[in-house]
């Protein structure tokens, strides 16, 4: 019997497992698929502080940013502390950007239009300016998730942390009110506590325990270009519209340019957001818009070819905050899901704080804003 069973071997589940093992707990991670096969395998890998409004999510992001840097020192996955550059088309938008930066209290530099070229030589001329955030970074999320689980097992004992892939959770075990294990496609597994790190499927898993979590899929497409011989883009560059889209509740399609190079050579181009359920059908209009916005920002990309595209489903909660903490409606069940478009960035802090809870310590950040029973009746549907 493990102290903790983590459902989901995505980046969030991996971080929970790693920090729980580090806290001295025995952990079993189960996933119905292989490691990183959910949304972790279809994200972009941005670790951002720049796009968050001041408040609980920004606090989580800042803690996470520091933890990613610590974790990256173990090596074994790409982590680039490349910095982010948010650009504004007009003076009005630039003013909003700089105001936001001042409120955030995050390390940043305001960049006037004429100085943008010093940061990104290939940016389109005529932009009003931008803000540079040195803390923004990029991680290869799939490898990072897999390495975290391995690192936990190697450092704290393979008996302490083990991964079981191809195991689907189908129900929960209880002793009285308390959740004390999971029922799976491969038999029952008993544990002191269960962590729901099932990402976009977190709502379905919660439902197996009879509790409601409003986690919905928000589809996103990413365009991937041919590998470039010379890096064309140094930072993670995005337009101010990205910040508003991230925070929007619209169901319809929203796109904004997010462009960045990768160590392997290709340029990644995002980001689209739309709520269409789990529909994987290719949407040519979305791909066209992503391409148009990228070319507008970096005209040199015009001749560069897109060689593939993929889509994923962000785990979205109505208030755009993740769910982190024990569920009072099902004691023994902890949630760590619903991170929407920021789960990769926020994973280490989520795992770190949850492990503190599991080990009976006071978490280093107030988790009240993330509590599982915060949703109103309508949101609960």
């Amino acid at each position: 019997m493990s102290d903790v069973i983590v459902i989901g071997a995505g980046v969030v589940g991996a971080a929970c497992a790693y920090y729980a093992a580090r806290a001295g707990l025995d952990v079993t991670v189960v996933d119905r698929g292989p490691v990183a096969s959910g949304t972790t395998g279809s994200g972009e890998g941005n670790v951002l502080v720049s796009d968050k409004e001041p408040g609980p999510e920004l606090d989580l992001a800042l803690l996470s940013n520091r933890l990613w840097r610590e974790l990256a020192e173990h090596g074994g996955f790409e982590f680039e502390a490349k910095g982010g550059l948010v650009v504004a088309e007009t003076a009005g938008v630039l003013r909003q950007l700089t105001e936001l930066a001042a409120k955030q209290g995050v390390e940043h530099t305001a960049v006037p239009g004429e100085a943008l070229g010093g940061y990104e030589p290939h940016l389109a001329p005529g932009l009003a300016g931008g803000v540079h955030y040195p803390q923004d970074a990029q991680v290869q999320p799939m490898l990072a998730a897999a390495r975290l689980i391995k690192l936990g097992a190697d450092s704290y004992g393979h008996g302490t942390l083990h991964l079981r892939t191809g195991v689907t959770v189908t129900g929960f075990l209880r002793s009285g009110e308390r959740v004390n294990g999971v029922r799976t496609s491969h038999g029952d597994i008993l544990g002191g506590a269960v962590v729901n790190a099932a990402g976009t499927w977190g709502g379905e898993v919660a439902a197996l325990a009879g509790v409601h979590l409003p986690v919905l899929p928000r589809r996103g497409f990413i365009l991937v270009t041919e590998p470039l011989r010379e890096p064309l883009i140094r930072h993670k560059v995005y337009t101010a519209a990205y910040v508003t889209n991230v925070a929007s509740d619209a169901e319809g399609l929203e796109t904004s340019a997010v462009v960045e190079g990768t160590p392997a050579g290709p340029v990644l181009i995002g980001a689209s957001r739309e709520r269409v359920g789990f529909d994987r059908t290719t949407s040519v209009p979305v791909l066209s818009r992503l391409a148009a916005q990228a070319v507008e920002l970096f005209p040199a990309l015009r001749e560069v070819r897109a060689i593939r595209a993929y889509c994923g489903f962000r785990p979205y909660c109505p208030d755009h905050l993740p769910v982190i903490g024990e569920d009072p409606r099902a004691p023994g069940l902890y949630h760590a899901c619903g991170h929407e478009g920021a789960g990769i960035g926020l994973a280490p802090a989520t795992g770190y704080l949850l492990a503190q809870l599991l080990a009976g310590q006071r978490p280093g950040l107030d988790l009240h804003p993330f509590r599982p029973d915060r949703f109103t009746r309508e949101e609960n549907g």
Partner: protein
């Protein structure tokens, strides 16, 4: 303008389907990425006439339908009751049609081995295309290796063109030349022709043999030929000098456009994912039809037959003539028998070394695949996510089969929302609605 039918692919299936439908009065447009109609089998050089039967069909087609060559189709989407075929020629082009026939053929199925990325090593189909389409033999002294009946015409063609064929190495055992399956199809003449071409030039034909390594600094200089047991484990080896190798272990149907549209797939006899079609060549998605290799690899005659059946059904024929249905049944049974006679055996994995590239595009060696598996990547997709095989230019077309074998699973239907590279500029611009 909305066409009644857009046919994607100008090989035997596509041309037969398009022509049949056009003759029945449908407004048809056919798109193909190549400069000439013909596909793989009826490929011919610039200025040359293809085989008369195909020449007649393509001539007739050009008079009755719109034929768009050098148009690479990168996506097909469905809107309301029509489809849009997104292509790229000199510029981005869109074709609208009420129905779509997918006849995109297949490509070679290579297996990796040490040195398989050296220049001078070509796929069997690649060597054939170079010869038939360009009149260029792949080399001066050529080894032909792999498995399946396709090796024979490749070797015979090269020999007839004056190249020295150093040997044909068929990894499977069992059927000798005399009992070669092309004979069984009543095509003894054709098979005898190949056999004669090879025998006359004293080309050795060795069963239970394979090329398991290629050697050279910058180009191919020699290969290691191995004698195999029935599981393809190595029993003994010898080196053979040659400057080219044509190698192929079967074919992979190109079904990504069907997958984009959400068509159901099934596993063919050897596990290959193919588009599932009904007796009238209809896929699971209303308005989408498929014919030829995408529904299962079976050669040009089967492809043409399926194309004709699809064309008739598309044109609303109440019943498809029994003759065609019977021919299709016979050819399919034969294709299944061939797949059974030339299976890929697992021993090929023992030819690999830790630094043998599995993915040529992203240069991923076997060792990195194994490392990803140890990290919990238990299927081909997650190995790709962790170690990048299949993420490069070819999108896993060359390594997909091998990777699935290494992962111990059947090959999965390919997810490629962008089936062909397209410049961001072209993707960004509204298409020229010329067609």
């Amino acid at each position: 303008m909305i066409h009644d039918l857009a046919v994607i692919g100008g090989g035997p299936a596509g041309v037969a389907g398009a022509l049949t439908a056009a003759l029945a009065g449908l407004r048809v447009v056919l798109l193909d990425g190549g400069p000439r109609l013909g596909g793989q089998y009826f490929r011919h050089a610039h200025g040359a006439e293809p085989e008369p039967r195909f020449a007649r069909q393509s001539h007739a087609l050009r008079q009755r339908a719109e034929v768009l060559l050098k148009h690479q189709v990168w996506a097909v989407s469905r809107e309301d009751d029509a489809f849009t075929v997104h292509a790229h020629g000199t510029a981005r082009a869109e074709v609208r049609a009420r129905r779509v026939l997918i006849a995109t053929g297949a490509h070679d199925r290579p297996l990796p081995f040490p040195g398989w990325d050296l220049p001078g090593v070509l796929t069997a189909g690649g060597a054939q295309a170079l010869l038939k389409g360009e009149r260029v033999p792949a080399g001066r002294r050529i080894a032909v290796a792999g498995t399946g009946p396709f090796l024979l015409p490749v070797a015979a063609g090269l020999a007839r063109a004056g190249a020295e064929v150093a040997g044909v190495f068929e990894a499977s055992g069992g059927l000798g030349l005399a009992r070669h399956p092309v004979m069984a199809l009543g095509k003894a003449g054709e098979a005898a022709g190949y056999a004669w071409a090879l025998a006359a030039r004293r080309v050795p034909y060795r069963r239970n043999h394979a090329v398991i390594a290629a050697h050279g600094e910058h180009e191919l200089r020699a290969v290691t030929v191995a004698r195999l047991d029935r599981d393809w484990n190595v029993l003994g080896t010898e080196e053979l000098e040659c400057d080219a190798l044509a190698v192929g272990y079967g074919f992979v149907p190109q079904i990504e456009l069907a997958v984009q549209l959400g068509c159901l797939t099934r596993q063919d006899a050897d596990g290959t994912p193919v588009v599932d079609v009904d007796a009238r060549q209809r896929t699971s998605v209303p308005g989408v039809w498929a014919a030829g290799e995408p529904t299962g690899v079976g050669g040009w005659e089967l492809s043409e037959t399926e194309g004709r059946i699809a064309g008739l059904a598309l044109a609303g024929a109440g019943e498809v003539p029994g003759l065609l249905l019977r021919r299709r049944a016979r050819l399919r049974a034969f294709a299944a028998a061939l797949q059974g006679a030339y299976p890929v055996r697992p021993g090929w994995q023992s030819w690999l070394t830790p630094d043998t590239l599995i993915c040529r595009c992203e240069e991923v060696p076997l060792a990195r695949v194994r490392e990803a598996q140890e990290l919990g990547a238990t299927d081909a997709r997650s190995i790709k996510l962790l170690a990048r095989p299949g993420m490069g230019w070819c999108q896993g077309r060359m390594c997909g089969y091998a990777l699935a074998c290494l992962a111990g699973e059947p090959q999965q239907p390919p997810r490629r929302p962008i089936a062909q590279p397209i410049s961001l500029g072209a993707l960004a611009e509204p298409p020229q609605k010329e067609h």
